[in-house]
């Protein structure tokens, strides 16, 4: 445990040192790249909202807002449609071909149509994020429902469960681990899409948008600071779902061993 911490510190220090050396030995141009010694103070100044032209706390809020719009809708529709598709073969047959047609289109490819239809709005950014998160959530939920073991279904039936109770008390609890996998994968994709959507100007606010603005200002230390904050928030979001998963799925611990 302790040696892990040491290796983490060592790894990051080496990376920063090399970056610093790389800047001063090769680049040496503040309009192209910034070394860590310049990025770190800039990041702190931005993060606590002390920069005259960029107010990062507000950008964080806007990005989380876009994320919340797209991701929550994706969870609601992805999970419910996934449950339906996994449970009812007819619905699966009707919907699956369309899903397979739309799924390979990258979320970024939806940006132009989103701008045309929804203009430069928060909803427009939310739409891109929805596209990104929807498919992993849908497919994992469907997989989870369709793969609940037959023995659990038969146990439920012989204990007196009707169709509705079977769905509520056996199929959904049995599919929860897959649903959570879908939510975590979906959240990761959603966060990438936040940056992409804002970067392309779907919304005039947020972390992704400011990165682009900072590039136009030729301020690489600000660009990198925003990159850092995007990474940090993505990490925190993932940890949050992981924590939630461990709390809700206590029964899974040790199950892998069996």
């Amino acid at each position: 445990m302790k040696s892990n911490v040491i290796f983490t510190i060592l790894s990051i220090s080496l990376f920063l040192l090399n970056w610093e050396i790389f800047y001063w030995s090769i680049i040496r141009d503040p309009f192209l790249l910034a070394p860590p010694s310049r990025v770190v103070p800039t990041f702190i100044r931005l993060f606590i909202g002390q920069d005259p032209s960029f107010y990062m706390p507000l950008d964080v809020l806007y990005s989380l807002y876009h994320y919340a719009i797209g991701f929550s809708v994706a969870v609601v529709f992805g999970v419910s449609l996934g449950l339906l598709m996994g449970y009812l073969k007819t619905i699966e047959k009707i919907i699956a071909p369309t899903i397979e047609l739309l799924r390979p289109i990258p979320p970024i490819a939806w940006i132009p149509i989103s701008i045309l239809l929804l203009k430069l709005t928060h909803v427009s950014a939310g739409f891109i994020i929805f596209i990104g998160a929807f498919f992993p959530i849908l497919l994992n939920t469907r997989h989870g429902v369709a793969n609940v073991e037959l023995k659990f279904l038969e146990a439920g039936i012989t204990l007196g469960a009707d169709e509705f109770n079977l769905l509520r008390k056996v199929i959904i609890p049995g599919a929860i681990p897959s649903i959570f996998t879908g939510i975590r994968v979906g959240s990761g994709v959603a966060w990438m899409c936040v940056v992409a959507a804002e970067l392309f100007g779907v919304s005039a606010y947020g972390l992704g948008y400011q990165i682009e603005i900072a590039r136009l200002y030729h301020a690489p230390e600000i660009v990198i600071s925003y990159m850092l904050s995007i990474g940090l928030i993505g990490y925190v979001l993932d940890r949050m779902y992981k924590f939630l998963e461990n709390r809700l799925l206590k029964w899974r611990r040790g199950l892998v061993v069996e």
Binding site: T158, G174, I176, G254, L255
Partner: protein, 251 residues
């Protein structure tokens, strides 16, 4: 004793394959009834038919009413337990009671009582993955018994256990059966287990299965596994089973 289950002219096909070829028997109320036979002969299929999990030709009556689908009057203990891993011990045991719409407080009381009967006090809040095989089987038994079924169906419930736990669980089962006075239909491939537990033993022939013999076990309980009569009945059973595996008697 009254007849509780009657099976007449039962046949079962899986597509073209005839698995059960005309079986007739009846089970008495409160009886410990074993079904034994060579592996693959359709013992489990027969049990699943009674549970209502399989389609079939012929008639199966429970107290005079034909069985057409699963029902809470026949609960089942599965070979691999089939405990819900997302529910604790108590959660698994109350499952059937929840579906019966029994008020929560009363359901928990009944479940706790049943957990005590099967000897699992102190493990109410454990999850299945934290339990040993024998303990899981006790949970499965409690879950099926607490629903107070007319008939308890058990499908080789002890076959996944080690020899020592198996003997311990056989003793437990005999004790619990005497305490609850349930009708039990029990599928096994172990001669000793059948003789130790049953009032009567139905011996099935190899596929396509027919009734090969019906053996009474009129021994007092608790039974001595090494008593003279016990061994005599075991030997008789052994000969019937051996005969149909090697000899021409298998039809």
């Amino acid at each position: 004793m009254n007849e509780i289950l009657r099976v007449t002219g039962l046949r079962k096909r899986f597509n073209e394959l005839l698995v059960i070829d005309g079986i007739d028997f009846s089970v008495l109320e409160g009886e410990f009834f074993c079904i034994i036979g060579p592996s693959g002969c359709g013992k489990t299929t027969l049990l699943r038919i009674i549970a209502g999990l399989e389609k079939f030709e012929g008639n199966v009556f429970l107290r005079g009413k034909p069985i057409i689908k699963p029902g809470i009057d026949r609960t089942m203990v599965f070979q691999d337990y089939a405990l819900f891993p997302w529910r604790t011990v108590i959660g698994n045991v109350v499952f059937g009671l929840e579906l019966k719409k029994i008020p929560k407080k009363e359901a928990l009381k009944m479940a706790n009582e049943m957990i005590r009967i099967v000897g699992l006090e102190g493990f109410e809040n454990a999850y299945p993955h934290e339990l040993s095989g024998g303990m899981k089987q006790r949970v499965a038994l409690a879950r099926a018994l607490v629903c107070d079924p007319e008939i308890l169906l058990m499908d080789e419930p002890l076959s996944a256990l080690d020899a020592q736990t198996r003997i311990e669980m056989q003793n437990e089962l005999a004790r619990i059966w005497q305490k609850t006075k349930k009708t039990i239909i029990y599928v096994t491939h172990s001669i000793e287990e059948a003789v130790f537990l049953s009032d009567r033993i139905l011996v099935m022939s190899k596929r396509p299965a027919k009734v090969k013999a019906m053996i009474e076990v009129p021994l007092p309980r608790p039974r001595n596994r090494f008593g003279k009569e016990f061994l005599e009945i075991s030997l008789r059973l052994y000969k019937i089973l051996e005969n149909q595996i090697n000899g021409p008697g298998g039809i």
